[in-house]
């Protein structure tokens, strides 16, 4: 008989959740299949593309390379948790205004990578913005506007902070 799966408790977008975690269950599959938060995308499932990026305790990580068993007590933020009270996050607004996506499939990952950057570095350089999304593939080729959106997000965030 297989061992009874452990139950992992974690916070997802501020909501306490518990997931019956079989040892190989990734955070990505837990989010998409168990918690039905499908905004986080599954593309390569091996850490090559960045589409599954979420924040763990504010830091951007690949959820496909994170086992949910290792997330006990951690605070997870997904794309669904970025907007507050219907108000879009500055990074989200910047992506719309700068047209930083076409099909939109890589977009949640790109946004979370930049959110992670801005959490740690509120006024990043161009090089830092590029480095933050270097691991996020976009097959439609929206990179130039993604970088623009990164800069715009810095501005928008600054405006929000000084209002």
């Amino acid at each position: 008989m297989p061992k009874k799966p452990e139950v992992v408790t974690l916070s997802v977008n501020g909501v306490p959740e518990s997931v019956a975690a079989e040892p190989r269950l990734t955070l990505l599959d837990a989010l998409r299949d168990e918690l039905r938060l499908t905004g986080t995308k599954k593309v390569c499932d091996m850490g090559d593309c960045g589409s599954c990026t979420v924040l763990v305790d504010g830091r951007a990580v690949y959820s496909c390379l994170t086992l949910v068993m290792d997330c006990e007590g951690q605070e997870i933020t997904t794309i669904e948790g970025l907007s507050r009270d219907g108000e879009l996050d500055p990074v989200q607004r910047a992506f719309i205004e700068a047209d930083a996506f076409q099909c939109g499939f890589c977009t949640p990952g790109q946004i979370m990578s930049l959110r992670g950057l801005l959490n740690a570095t509120p006024t990043p350089s161009d090089a830092e913005i590029k480095r933050a999304v270097t691991g996020n593939l976009c097959r439609c080729g929206a990179y130039l506007n993604i970088v623009k959106a990164g800069h715009l997000a810095v501005e928008l965030q600054w405006k929000v902070a000084t209002q």
Binding site: D33, T38, K41, L88, Q92, I96, G141, A142
Partner: protein, 776 residues
């Protein structure tokens, strides 16, 4: 209103000369002087909020009650027969609800001569069995429990090897797909004799993978004998027709829905096996089934850009006038002909330059590799790499500027049909705008020295992108004066929703906020064709406009009673109805009129009219590129790209620029880093993942400037807009190759222009790199 008139009955899919719209009110064409308030202006994507919040629901995001997840067992061998297959252990695994294989699945024909589950497997990655289970992990476990005994068969991977008489055969009849396709005008032998200079070269292009970030796949669910598929597809109506046919269902019992998709680039324009397999697994298990391919399968089984070998002879007089274009093309199809848009590598040789003597021969070859399928401008991308490098070589030999050489061979007519173009000056404009924006200064000489050498390159192209009938749209005016526009087309990420909303809002005189566009659902909206061939905007834009005009006409008739003025004197603007020549305060909101007639509803219907007779609608483009080659490492860095493309009227500059920049970005990947690698000893793909298959990253993209042409083509259709999705990918690779030659004096004839390849060419030196000419 009668929407169409059928000239003669057809079998299969119709062509425009058989199927004509006749009883449409002719729309005044939006020419260059049309005063438009919404069309032609930037607008952010109407679905932007859904996409940045994770609320946009893709095929992969369907989560239905009781839904199962499917996985597919694929052939590990490139050519084999299944001698024995045992699925009993997989079926017995807790959590598994259905297993299908050749032993228990219905025999359903697929491709030209195969089956959904075939006993003969013709490439490593071909479908052997499928499992539906309560999670992808359980399905993966079950797949490993399936026991298969294969009889390995001789196989051939390289398409040139496959042409040899003693090559292993995929089929009894041999490896040639069809008889070679020959096109000929004039006499190339005479043209070559007449030539003062002949460029005679062989070029090869590689297999490239689409690698859409959302893999191919769908979710299938039955209610009684009715099937719904949420599919990641470029054509809901084609998938419905194909799946209905394969499963023996009437079309109205199959509904195909596609609201959002994570990329297609041509590879999702047909029904693939997973559509039918998911439906069968769902039927068998009595549960909804989601079958999304994993990344490896995505790289093995659902299409790629075909490899080519092109032997080109280009003859010209001393003044640069082309006297002959002769090309023999061999291209690999993979193991099956997948269907959809064909890859006509021969096409651009026949049309791009004025030349009386042209002969193209194209033969397509089966190999034991995954099937090819259309990939963004199929055929033209491959042809451009050869033709545009040969033109560059010719220019250098004749010491004529490469743009000047192209101008000397300019054509204002489509030489296939001997018809004038509706936009005869467009290509010239593309040359001019690209050259101006880039600051084209001709080639430097002598070649640069030092370890990092810069060079510039130029390339041009043509493409279709005219759009075509049929395609339909409806407009419903709601009681509050808002409008719902309904059409069966799809937005594959290109901005179709936004641009069509702009067309509808413009014609209706409503604001963007007052118009919602609904698409991608066979059960909710009239027929629209596949989103391929850069045709969507030029096909459905006019249909949407016609439907809006029809609704507006009815609205004004109703308003004429309300405003006591004849409908001819009424205008709609900014959501208000004005009486021409009377004070603006007499204007009434559209919502007042629609409320007054509610619950009666105004419904407009529109169809795509025919393309012009006796004229040819085409798109054109040109690109300038600057590169830097590090001769110590072989690294090529693209420093900047200027792209100028004719797509008629630009409906939304933001969307068009995104298409141009995105396509150039894909072109850079195709030119420098992308390519399938197959181990020819075992016939397996070595880089079926996103780590070793190198698509461009943010670090690889230089500044890319879109030098707009934006000349409306009102003869093409009433909106004056043509396609832009595919064309900007076409000239990027040859422009880069030409720039590399300019930098290092060595020409690269084989894609991709990887660091390794450039290094080899550099080691051989200019003389060694200059591949010996093939004798004519």
């Amino acid at each position: 209103m009668t929407m169409l008139h059928i000239d003669k009955l057809r079998r299969g899919h119709g062509t425009e000369d058989e199927y004509k719209v006749v009883e449409l009110d002719p729309l005044p064409r939006w020419g260059a002087d049309a005063a438009l308030a919404i069309v032609g202006r930037p607008h952010v994507r109407v679905e932007g909020t859904e996409k940045v919040t994770g609320r946009a629901r893709y095929a992969y995001d369907m989560r239905l009650p009781g839904q199962l997840f499917a996985r597919v067992l694929r052939s590990p061998l490139p050519h084999a027969r299944i001698k024995r297959i045992d699925i009993s252990k997989a079926e017995a695994l807790p959590g598994v609800h259905a297993v299908l294989c050749v032993e228990n699945a219905p025999e359903i024909g697929w491709y030209r001569d195969s089956f959904v589950f075939d006993r003969t497997l013709r490439f490593a990655g071909e479908e052997v069995a499928a499992v539906a289970a309560e999670s992808e992990r359980i399905a993966d476990d079950a797949i490993r429990l399936i026991e298969v005994e294969y009889e390995s068969l001789p196989f051939v991977i390289d398409f040139q090897e496959a042409l040899k008489p003693d090559a292993p055969k995929l089929r009894e009849a041999g490896n040639l797909v069809d008889e070679p396709k020959v096109y000929e005008r004039g006499h190339v032998a005479a043209g070559l004799r007449e030539a003062d200079v002949v460029v005679d070269r062989v070029y090869t292009t590689q297999v490239a993978h689409h690698n859409c970030l959302e893999p191919h796949g769908c979710t299938a669910d039955w209610e009684g004998d009715r099937l719904t598929l949420w599919d990641s597809t470029q054509s809901v109506f084609d998938v419905r027709q194909q799946v209905a046919e394969k499963l023996g269902l009437p079309e109205h019992h199959v509904r195909v829905v596609k609201q959002f998709m994570g990329g297609g680039f041509g590879s999702k324009q047909i029904a693939w096996k997973h559509d039918v397999i998911a439906a069968l697994l769902s039927q068998r298990s009595g549960r909804p089934v989601q079958l999304m391919l994993d990344r490896e399968a995505e790289n093995l089984a659902v299409g790629n850009r075909n490899p080519t070998r092109q032997h080109l002879r280009l003859g010209a007089k001393r003044d640069g006038t082309l006297t002959a274009i002769a090309v023999e093309i061999e291209q690999g199809a993979g193991a099956h002909m997948a269907g959809g848009e064909g890859s006509e590598t021969a096409g651009m040789y026949q049309t791009l330059y004025r030349c009386p003597n042209v002969r193209t021969e194209q033969c397509v070859v089966y190999t034991n590799t995954g099937p090819a399928v259309a990939f963004r401008a199929p055929g033209h991308v491959e042809a451009a790499f050869a033709l545009e490098q040969a033109m560059d070589e010719l220019a250098r030999r004749l010491e004529i500027d490469p743009i000047e050489l192209r101008l000397r061979n300019y054509t204002e007519r489509n030489q296939l049909e001997e018809e004038p173009y509706t936009s005869p000056d467009s290509l010239r404009l593309c040359y001019q705008r690209a050259a101006e924006a880039f600051g084209w200064r001709g080639y430097q000489r002598p070649p640069a020295t030092g370890s990092k050498r810069r060079g510039i390159g130029f390339a041009a192209h043509d493409w279709g992108g005219s759009g075509y009938p049929p395609g339909y749209a409806w407009v419903k005016l709601n009681s509050d004066g808002t409008a719902d526009v309904v059409t069966g087309t799809q937005d594959i990420g290109t901005g179709t929703r936004t641009a069509l909303t702009q067309v509808a809002a413009e014609e209706l005189g409503l604001s963007m906020d007052s118009v919602d566009l609904h698409l991608g659902d066979t059960a909710n909206g009239p027929y629209a064709p596949v989103s391929s061939g850069s045709a969507t905007q030029a096909t459905i834009g006019p249909a949407v406009r016609a439907a809006a005009a029809d609704a507006k006409k009815q609205l004004l008739e109703a308003a004429s009673k309300y405003l006591e003025a004849p409908p001819e004197r009424l205008r709609v603007r900014d959501g208000k109805i004005f009486v021409e020549g009377e004070p603006e305060d007499r204007a009434v909101p559209v919502g007042d009129v629609t409320a007054a007639i509610a619950p009666h509803m105004i419904q407009g219907r529109g169809a795509r009219g025919p393309n012009p007779e006796g004229k040819s609608v085409r798109t054109f483009g040109a690109q300038c590129v600057e590169v830097e080659v590090d001769v110590e490492t072989g690294d090529v860095t693209v420093l900047r790209v200027v792209a100028s493309h004719d797509c008629g009227r630009i409906i939304n500059p933001t969307m068009v620029e995104a298409q141009v920049i995105g396509a150039v970005t894909q072109g850079i990947g195709y030119a420098l880093t992308e390519g399938r690698v197959v181990d020819e000893r075992f016939g397996v793909v070595l880089n079926a993942n996103l780590e070793e298959y190198k698509v461009p990253t943010v670090a690889d993209v230089p500044p890319i400037e879109h030098a707009e042409v934006n000349v409306p083509d009102p003869e093409a259709n009433p909106t004056g807009a043509k396609g832009i999705g595919e064309p900007p990918l076409v000239p990027t690779a040859p422009a880069i190759a030409n720039a590399i030659f300019d930098a290092i004096g060595v020409r690269a004839y084989d894609l991709p222009l990887s660091r390794h390849r450039i290094f080899e060419l550099l080691a051989a030196g200019p003389a060694g790199g200059e591949r010996a000419e093939v004798s004519a």
